[in-house]
């Protein structure tokens, strides 16, 4: 398919009538995927609330074990990345692949910063015997026994969220390659918009995770 530097889509795939129809169908597919993401995390949040009701003291102790300043920092980092991602979509819709490239670079940098902070948080918890599993957990480290359950929710939920960030980094590397090849135009920017939707959902999940894990 690649025939040179510029390899832009101008014709729809044979099973679509027009570029607009193909774009709408692709985008709708991403939305359906986002719906399943919300339901998957929704179930985890339901579990979080049920056990918070049951073991309130453990949730209070668990929350106090986390550094809310790091959580707040990461929240701002993710919001900034969502902003640059939204702007990258705007740029690519206007056919400006260079500007979009720069904005996706910033988004990717934010994703890395988020994961580096997460690495220090996780390794600190493991070091203090607060990781529930692999023989790491130290019962002496907490006052309420069920705090172990809180830490399980913490690692599962932020871990699943972190995996989404890592997948996002991969998707953005793919976008960067295609933006560099000048593949997108006013007529074709579906991939940029799709990755954008994914990235914003990851941000929305964190908007709920931050207060529930670090603050409450």
């Amino acid at each position: 398919m690649s025939t040179g530097k510029v390899d832009r889509r101008v014709e729809p795939s044979h099973h679509f009538d027009s570029m607009i129809q193909e774009h709408e169908a692709g985008k709708q597919g991403v939305w359906l995927f986002m719906a399943t993401e919300l339901m998957m995390f929704g179930a985890l949040f339901a579990g979080y609330f049920i056990y918070r009701m049951k073991y309130y003291d453990a949730w209070v102790e668990g929350g106090s074990l986390l550094d809310w300043k790091l959580g707040a920092f990461n929240t701002i980092v993710l919001l900034l990345s969502s902003f640059t991602m939204a702007q990258a979509v705007t740029d690519s819709m206007q056919g400006n692949n260079k500007k979009a490239f720069r904005n996706v670079v910033i988004t990717t940098a934010c994703a890395f910063i988020f994961m580096i902070v997460k690495y220090f948080e996780y390794s600190g918890k493991i070091h203090h015997g607060l990781f529930p599993g692999l023989g790491v957990w130290n019962p002496e480290a907490v006052e309420v026994a069920e705090t172990k359950l809180f830490m399980t929710f913490y690692f599962v939920m932020t871990g699943l969220h972190g995996i989404h960030i890592l997948i996002g980094i991969g998707l953005m590397a793919w976008l960067l390659k295609r933006l560099k090849n000048d593949e997108f135009s006013k007529d074709y920017y579906t991939s940029v918009e799709g990755v954008g939707l994914y990235w914003h959902i990851v941000d929305i999940i964190w908007i709920f995770l931050f207060p529930l894990m670090y603050l409450i």
Partner: protein
């Protein structure tokens, strides 16, 4: 492509600033204002508001079709169903 709304830079910037301000409010109210159990409610109200701002202006459902809005809303509806039925069970146990 015609018919698709391009969100201007200024709108994206205002959305971002709004989200940062709401994050600061979340931290301040949760850390320095003791409202007891109401702290959780307040934090969730702000978080829901922030999520709505992201969905409407970043994603941006404000300029999207009712088809995509319905997909998003239906997933929220099913999550709500899970929350409500779980709550009904928990609060009615002897």
């Amino acid at each position: 492509m015609s018919g698709h709304h391009v969100v201007p830079f200024k709108t994206n910037l205002i959305t971002f600033i709004t989200l940062v301000v709401l994050t600061v409010i979340t931290v301040l109210t949760a850390k320095y204002v003791d409202l007891g159990e109401f702290n959780l409610t307040l934090a969730m109200v702000i978080a829901t508001f922030k999520a709505t701002v992201v969905a409407l202006w970043f994603m941006p459902l404000k300029y999207d079709t009712w088809m995509n809005r319905t997909i998003m809303l239906s997933s929220i509806a099913f999550v709500s169903l899970l929350f409500v039925i779980s709550a009904v069970d928990l609060f009615t146990r002897a």
